[in-house]
């Protein structure tokens, strides 16, 4: 890797010998050093981090080899429960930030990891989450180069909050933006929608539905690279996280001042997610995804884009769901399976289950 190495003498790694985190682990002394070593440095296992300097340092020339623009993004992860079917907060914290870089056309390279830990959390759970972060980062080809750890009083946070900041580089010629969509462009998604939102709601346990629902949490940079190669005219990509594809489509309709029309029968949904939404009175278009994107490509490249995504493991169920139209600018309209049409607006707050 091209990170500047400061010195190479390995130091002795600390170890935590108690089962739970206490305020002492945030005190800045030896206990904190032990926690950072034991949980994070050992999992992330790279020499830059091990030097424990206050900042990561990059050679500009090395970065420039990837393209002509730096991309930077940050996201904080607060999720209950910390572990859920299909992932955990650690995997989410890597995939989410990698995806935020990748949807801008950037090659994701480096991540920071800042954690806020509530006293009393099991150290073994932290280790498990850190290992999950490390594994996900390795698979995504990104490296943790700097970090921070804070411990707060019980009740001051919910077990564990993670913030990751990501840096990537955008290749010359790639220019994606929500304001670039043109009349006639096709909208595509890379697969079944709403899995993450439904899995999390179910994992919170109120309904206790026995379903195989799993979060779709995944890093999408590989799929996006294939998409951009097959459809170089791609106008826009965004990952459909909180607020689901309905929110992304509204944002792009507004930014590009176009109408968007989608077709309910083209919108890929798993039967389990449909059933889950039917029971709770939720609309799957607004459910969160953590491994799904919405993209707009010129109509002439739509088939190529679709084929490229379907060729990738994370895009087998990709579909063309609609088009940019000369309808009322900023409006998203859905043609329902039943033959009617309705407006798909932004949500005001979060979706709440209906009474009856």
């Amino acid at each position: 890797m091209n990170v500047v190495q400061l010195h190479k003498t390995p130091r002795r790694m600390g170890h935590v010998n108690v089962p739970k985190v206490t305020m002492a682990h945030g005190g800045g002394g030896k206990a904190m050093r032990d926690l950072i070593d034991d949980v994070f440095i050992s999992a992330f296992d790279n020499e830059t981090l091990a030097t424990m300097e206050d900042q990561a340092r990059f050679r500009l020339a090395d970065l420039a080899a990837y393209g002509d623009r730096l991309a930077m993004t940050t996201d904080s992860y607060v999720i209950h429960p910390l572990k859920f079917p299909g992932g955990d907060i650690g995997k989410l914290a890597v995939c989410g930030t990698v995806n935020d870089l990748a949807v801008g056309g950037a090659v994701p390279l480096y991540l920071s990891c800042a954690v806020i830990i509530e006293e009393g959390i099991e150290v073994e759970l932290l280790r498990e989450i850190a290992r999950s972060m490390a594994r996900t980062a390795r698979e995504a080809g990104v490296m943790f180069v700097t970090g921070d750890t804070k411990v707060v009083d019980r009740g001051a946070c919910d077990k564990l909050f993670i913030n990751t900041t990501g840096i990537g580089v955008i290749r010359e010629g790639i220019n994606l933006g929500a304001d670039r969509v043109k009349l006639g462009d096709a909208f595509l998604v890379n697969g079944l929608l709403g899995d993450h939102g439904a899995a999390i709601l179910n994992a919170r346990g109120d309904m206790k539905l026995a379903t195989p629902l799993e979060s779709d949490c995944a890093a999408l940079h590989g799929l996006i690279a294939d998409l951009l190669a097959a459809a170089p005219g791609t106008r826009f990509i965004r990952d459909a996280t909180r607020g689901g594809i309905a929110t992304v489509l509204n944002e792009v309709a507004d930014a590009s001042q176009i109408g968007v029309e989608i077709h309910e029968d083209k919108t890929p949904l798993r039967d389990e997610v449909r059933g889950f939404c039917e029971i709770l009175g939720l609309d799957p278009l607004y459910l969160a995804n953590e491994g799904k994107l919405v993209t707009a490509v010129p109509a002439a490249q739509a088939d190529a884009a679709l084929a490229a995504m379907r060729n990738h493991a994370l895009g087998r169920e990709a579909a063309i769901i609609g088009h940019a139209t000369d309808g009322r600018p900023g409006r998203v309209v859905m043609h329902t399976v039943f033959g009617g049409r309705r407006i798909v607006d932004m949500l005001v707050g979060e979706q709440l289950p209906r009474i009856c």
Binding site: R274, R331, F338, G339, R342, I343, R354, I355, C356
Partner: protein
């Protein structure tokens, strides 16, 4: 998906629509207003918007979205009572999700929660009872809300609490009953309705005979309808058919769920726990006699109103708000003076803007905005809207 897709078949919808178009054209000939059919139940309103059913119907048919959204007709004073209960130290206040955002005169339950009250969303009153058992040193109050659809489950929960000797559980009872309200609407002098879609889930509990007076005394057809889009179209067709044949009877389109006589076990539980109130206040409609239920004296222990001496202060609806006229079908949601301006889903003035089952929120969220803008502009020009 089985038992769902069959009821959303676009081909069957086309056949029904062709017949609806023909019948509506025939019936509408010579009328100076559209045929008005009221769906009483908020669940129907939701389905109508969700599947875009209004966009499929001919202009000769106008759907009037009735008072059947229990969250919408909840008066502001009762929300204040909820907040007051939630603010009592040691109380865990439990509620269905969509009641969280309903505005009180000062705040909603969602705001109360943000200020530190222990307000929790549950899916069933049984979840609230479970919370009570898990927290014996707390008082758990369940916000009992809804028509006869949800009444049996709260009644059964109270009976279970009694059986298990749970003492730290109570209901804040706001259950309402549909028949007196439909009657109040029928007695309204502004009424021009031609027929009704009857509430499917309420009827599953109370049966169909309760509606006979609508057909017999008021001469209006009523068809009890299911909640899938084909159910709604089918029921509209059945109402038109009655109008065409100059009949007015109660018919059951939703026979796969609704038994003629309702559900005896559910009715028995309701009868044991609840009794009619002299009157109940409805948001937008005012006070309606015998339209709500309270807990019988035998269950006073489980009645939050008595346990915590709830104040129940009456708060007048905002003057600018025309929810009542919308509920009665006198005006369409977008004809209200504050629709989309002072009253939006972000800052609802009237309750109809709060729940997704409320007619105004449904129009705002799913409605044909171009049509609404054009109509509002026309009305401003002609002076019917200021």
């Amino acid at each position: 998906m089985k038992y769902v897709d069959e009821f959303r078949d676009p081909e069957k919808a086309k056949t029904l629509l062709a017949e609806i178009n023909a019948l509506a054209a025939k019936l509408h000939a010579g009328m100076d207003r559209p045929l008005q059919i009221m769906e009483v139940c908020g669940g129907h309103t939701h389905a109508i918007f969700r599947y875009g059913i209004e966009s499929m119907l001919p202009d000769a048919i106008e759907l009037i979205h009735g008072p059947g959204c229990p969250v919408c007709v909840l008066p502001m004073g009762r929300v204040d009572d909820c907040v007051a209960l939630a603010e009592i130290p040691n109380v865990i206040f439990t509620t269905f999700g969509d009641a969280m955002r309903v505005p009180g005169s000062k705040k909603s339950l969602l705001q109360a929660k943000s200020e530190g009250c222990d307000v929790r969303m549950v899916y069933s009153p049984l979840d609230a009872l479970k919370l009570a058992k898990e927290n014996p040193d707390k008082e758990v109050v369940f916000f009992a809300l809804g028509f006869e659809t949800t009444m049996p489950s709260t009644a059964m929960t109270v009976l279970q609490a009694e059986r298990e000797g749970v003492r730290n559980f109570s209901l804040f009872c706001n259950h309402i009953t549909i028949i007196p309200t439909v009657k109040a609407i029928l007695d309204s002098p502004e009424l021009t309705l031609d027929g009704f879609l009857g509430p499917g889930h309420v009827s599953m509990v109370i049966g169909n005979a309760s509606y006979n007076f609508i057909a017999e005394q008021y001469g209006k057809p009523l068809v009890v309808a299911g909640f899938e889009p084909l159910d709604v179209l089918h029921a509209i067709w059945m109402v038109l058919k009655q109008l065409d044949e100059k009949r007015s009877v109660v018919e059951n389109q939703y026979s796969r769920v609704v038994p003629e006589d309702g559900n005896a076990v559910a009715l028995d539980a309701i009868g044991r726990v609840f009794e009619l109130r002299g009157f109940f206040e409805w948001r937008g409609l005012g006070s309606i006699d015998h339209s709500g239920v309270r807990m019988r004296d035998a269950y006073a222990l489980y009645d939050a109103e008595r346990k915590f001496s709830v104040k129940s202060i009456k708060i007048a609806d905002p003057k600018s708000c025309q929810c009542g006229e919308v509920l009665k079908g006198v005006i369409k949601p977008w004809e209200c003076k504050v629709f989309g301006g002072a009253c939006t889903p972000e800052t609802p003035l009237g309750a109809l803007m709060v729940s997704s089952e409320g007619a105004c929120a449904a129009y705002y969220q799913y409605g044909d905005v171009e049509k609404i803008h054009t109509k509002r502009a026309e009305m401003l020009k002609t002076g019917t809207l200021s």
